[in-house]
């Protein structure tokens, strides 16, 4: 019976690729979320942006 052998170097490279891609995808989700907040959240006519616009007004005064 063949024994399961220790991790081959290939597996290390594959792992690095999988983890790397995972990080990239999570970062992309974060970027899209952040962009949404940044762009939608600064529109004074929008529910999300109204508090921000008020804060800006206050700061200006």
């Amino acid at each position: 019976m063949t024994q399961i052998r220790a991790t081959h170097e290939i597996h290390g490279r594959r792992l690095s690729r999988n983890i790397g891609l995972g990080i990239v995808l999570v970062a992309f989700v974060g970027i899209v979320y952040g962009l949404t907040i940044a762009k939608v959240g600064t529109d004074p006519n929008d529910d999300l942006g109204a508090p921000w616009a008020q804060a800006q007004d206050k700061a200006a005064k």
Binding site: G12, R13, R17, I31, G34
Partner: protein, 311 residues
Amino acid sequence: MSDTTILDQDRDAGFGDYFALLKPRVMSLVVFTAFVGLLVAPGAINPFVGLCAILFIAVGGGASGALNMWWDADIDAKMRRTVKRPIPAGKIEPGEALGLGIALTGFSVIMLFLATNWVAGALLAFTIFFYVVIYTMWLKRWTPQNIVIGGAAGAFPPMIGWAAVTGDIALESILMFALTFAWTPPHFWSLALFVKSDYKDADVPMLTVTHGRRVTRNHILVYTFALAAVAIGLGLTSIGGPAYMAVAVVMNLWFIKGAIDIWRRTDADSEADSHLVERKFFKFSLLYLFVHFGMLLVETSLTPFGLGGWS
């Protein structure tokens, strides 16, 4: 399991190999100059949007790097400097590089457009097209002026950064483009004068090979004068100022002096001191570009204190 599959597995690339396709070292120049273009532009941009814009510009630059490596895999395999790139090293299939390059091109252009505006997105798309199609596919193997054309592609990032904020093209952003554009030939040709290259083996026409080193020295001088005119002209615009100008005058005089020294030398002089003047000129050229863009940043950061710019 057949032998073929074992071989295929052996070629499995790690994450770093894909990252290497994006030419991370070139990317650092792209990021820095795009960052300066974005910060010196009049008007405001949400800091997070600005950060994302820089990231997308960098990814777009990376995409053109991957497409360049896909097209140039044959010549990369013939030159010592490039033989270890992922494709000639056998780690990544050419088709994979092509796929990654196209995917990242679409991704970066669309994301930059969505995050900022269509002018910035279109400029990024044009930059990638210019670098990959005009430079890599068409002119690189055809004309010894290839460096000049390639330099143009590398010069776009500050214009894209500027457009990300203003949605426009202006004299200032064009002059920032012209600065890197005119800087590339003296920078690269001075390197070509002292590095023994194997471009000849790869059939890439380099000025030193096709027209000789004398002509290369002449070219360096002419482009250095053009560069000085651009650098000083940039200082007279709204993003320049006394601090930039003072530094620019000194650096350009020094650079011109170096170019004249190179121009007056013969190859015998150059061999005698193992290309000392050329080496110094090349090293200084790196500092030159960094400091010029850096001084534009200084002018912008002095403005809130009433010290930056001309007014």
